[in-house]
């Protein structure tokens, strides 16, 4: 049986920049098939896995896309100009390795004459090692997508880092849970959604299709425990599963918050209350689908989100998965 860490490693070895999620979708679908679960894909590319039940319909959502880069122009010297897929700060992009979906590797660098504070995406370029435009075009064309080139690595104390823990973690939690659910009457749909990083677009259509009675979103949240952290927040590494109270796009449904808190306390699962005021999640679009869907979330604190070195604590990931599994198996969410 795959552990949650096994799943996480498998997902971290795939690529899925926003709009180009098919590789990750395929790997998730294969694992679901091995567990005997059926799945479908919608017009936007959302992967929807179904575990039938006679009870209320639950939508578990984890976005499978990641931030990345889209080639927009090849110049006469063979440098690739690009734009961001999702929210990326230029300061993360100085001499950083990237890889295109077709395997071409490159390094993101910057126009040296432009001062640091004035650098924008348009001052940056990807050097793919081509000697001129013609050779560059043999490797990369405008419209091709790239991503941070890195793998999952271990730190001491059960911590890990990788480029895309946002949101391989949520996917691993959702997938591990739906594959290993024992007794559960809920009719469970796990949506691995597309295009969250560019505006939570996939969740919108998936929520419409599933038409759930309630929903739980699995994602990452800010870990507010680094030196001189800019802002306020109590979520931190090792503090357990982060139960969503609010993010910039949604206020979690009170009944779901209290059910998750009760479940954590009854089952002795470490948890923390998650309030973030910057950054939204799929929660925002799901709760507004059709006539409204009560929605909550379980997140995992991650440091350095949207950088090539997103860092998390395995114990928080385990806690999030245990909390989700217990909530579903004890059917503690009653609306």
């Amino acid at each position: 049986m795959l552990s949650i860490k096994d799943i996480l490693k498998k997902l971290c070895a795939t690529a899925s920049p926003s709009g180009f999620e098919s590789e990750t979708a395929k790997v998730i679908a294969e694992m679901a098939e091995d567990a005997g679960l059926s799945h479908s894909t919608d017009a936007l590319g959302n992967l929807i896995i179904h575990r039938p039940g006679v009870g209320r319909r639950v939508l578990l959502d984890a976005h499978m896309d990641t931030i990345g880069f889209l080639a927009t122009f090849i110049d006469e010297k063979g440098f690739v100009r690009f734009d961001a897929l999702g929210g990326i700060s230029v300061c993360e992009l100085h001499n950083i390795p990237v890889k295109f979906l077709n395997g071409t590797r490159g390094v993101i660098s910057y126009e040296q004459k432009t001062e640091l504070k004035d650098r924008k995406m348009s001052s940056m370029f990807i050097d793919i090692g081509a000697k001129d435009e013609k050779t560059a075009r043999e490797a990369v064309l405008p419209g091709d997508a790239a991503y941070f080139d890195g793998e999952l690595r271990e730190l001491s104390g059960g911590r890990i880092f990788a480029p895309y823990l946002d949101n391989r973690i949520g996917c691993a939690v959702a997938l591990h849970t739906i594959m290993n659910l024992k007794k559960c009457d809920y009719d469970v749909y796990a949506v691995f959604s597309v295009q969250e990083e560019v505006g939570c677009r996939g969740a919108k259509t998936a929520a419409y299709a599933v038409e759930a009675d309630f929903s739980i979103v699995l994602d990452v949240t800010d870990s507010c425990d680094t030196p001189c952290f800019d802002g306020y927040g109590e979520t931190g590494m090792g503090g357990g599963a982060a139960i969503k109270i609010m993010d910039a796009a949604a206020i979690a449904h009170p009944s779901i918050i209290s059910a998750l808190v009760d479940t954590a306390e009854k089952n002795d699962i470490a948890y923390q209350r998650d309030v973030i005021t910057a950054g939204g999640t799929d929660t925002g679009n799901i709760q507004l689908s059709r006539a409204g869907v009560p929605t909550g979330g379980i997140s995992v604190p991650v440091r350095y989100i949207h950088s090539p070195c997103e860092t998390a604590d395995m114990s928080d990931i385990e806690a999030a998965a245990k909390l989700l599994r217990c909530a579903l198996e004890t059917q503690s969410i009653i609306l």
Binding site: S18, D42, A43, R81, S122, P142, R201, T205, A209
Partner: protein, 343 residues
């Protein structure tokens, strides 16, 4: 095509006040359409029957509205304070003529004479609060007889042919798309197709939300005008797209990542037909696709755009050959066999 463009570009249709454009379209399509309907927000739906009916319906759309102004306040000395409807760079509005309301009251967006400005003032664009529209009235009471707060206006700008192949007009965005749709509605089609003339694109792709919900298509083609920056002060990627280089096929913009298989299909059609195509070299702007592709359980959406310089200004410039190319590619696309679209 030029005559149709000229007619369309000279009709007033700021966002929310698309009535005159809609009336023209309704009159034009009457003899070709199999069904015409309008929804509560003002979108006009035109069904053109073809030889066959698609299992997976296709919707084509273009927006009728254009950027403009809205009167906010009449000052005691008869000037109009205003705001823009849709995205307008106030630097291009200064010194321009406008037409306000149904009565088309003429006015100018004035600014004090250069003689009276300081060096500092000339270095930056004036704030919107420093601008006003002069309609020639001496006092508030006389201005009130002509206009009211809440009246919409458009730029007053003639349609001109420029050079051999180019046109200059306001509202090419998106009367070019409307013109292409009108041409297609007049043709024999292979399949039943819904053409939707949408409202309020310039203020956030609002009409397209209800349009896509109503039609409930599986596929959508958005016909648009897009930002060409092929001017001497831009180089390389910053030129975005260029006049005369053909139709822009949608890949990604600020609102949408377009369906990749449909992108490849349009590219293939263009190459087989020997038509020029391009993609934008910057991710910017947005189209009705933003609302359409996330409608209901998702719509596979693509776009064809006309590269347009000085877009959202009183004087947009486009190349008629590009518009013809968009027409050819749109025609091929909407007549595609069912299995080709589904592939």
């Amino acid at each position: 095509m030029i005559e149709l463009l000229k007619t369309l570009c000279l009709i007033d249709g700021p966002s929310g006040c698309e009535d005159a454009v809609r009336d023209f379209v309704r009159g034009y399509v009457k003899e070709y359409a199999d069904e015409i309907k309008e929804d509560s927000i003002g979108n006009l739906f035109v069904l053109k029957k073809g030889k066959k009916r698609r299992q997976a319906p296709l919707m084509v759309c273009a927006h009728m509205d254009e950027v403009g102004i809205i009167v906010k306040e009449i000052t005691s000395d008869g000037y109009l304070k205003f705001d823009f409807v849709g995205g307008v760079d106030r630097r291009v509005a200064i010194g321009k003529r406008v037409l306000i309301g149904k009565k088309r009251i003429p006015g100018v967006i004035g600014l004090k004479a250069v003689h009276l400005t300081t060096k500092e003032e000339r270095k930056k664009a004036p704030k919107l609060s420093e601008l006003c529209i002069d309609i020639g009235c001496e006092k508030k009471s006389s201005a009130e007889k002509l206009v009211s707060p809440g009246d919409f206006g458009v730029f007053d700008s003639p349609f001109k042919a420029l050079g051999e192949n180019r046109i200059k007009a306001r509202a090419i965005d998106d009367r070019a798309g409307c013109a292409v749709m009108l041409k297609l509605i007049g043709e024999e089609l292979s399949y039943d197709t819904w053409f939707v003339f949408t409202v309020q694109e310039e203020v956030g792709c609002r009409g397209a939300v209800s349009a896509a919900y109503t039609v409930n298509p599986e596929f959508a083609l958005v016909l648009e005008s897009t930002t060409a920056a092929d001017i001497p002060s831009s180089e390389g990627a910053l030129r975005v797209c260029s006049l005369g280089n053909g139709a822009v096929i949608g890949c990604m913009d600020g609102g949408t990542i377009y369906d990749k298989k449909l992108f490849a299909l349009l590219r293939k059609i263009a190459e087989e037909k020997g038509m020029k195509w391009q993609m934008k070299s910057r991710v910017a702007g947005g189209t009705d696709a933003k609302s359409i592709h996330v409608s209901r359980n998702g719509v596979r959406t693509t776009s064809l755009s006309v590269p347009t310089r000085y877009i959202h200004s009183p004087s947009c410039v486009a190349d008629v050959r590009d518009i013809e190319t968009v027409l050819v590619l749109a025609r091929e696309f909407i007549n595609c066999e069912e299995e080709v679209l589904n592939a």
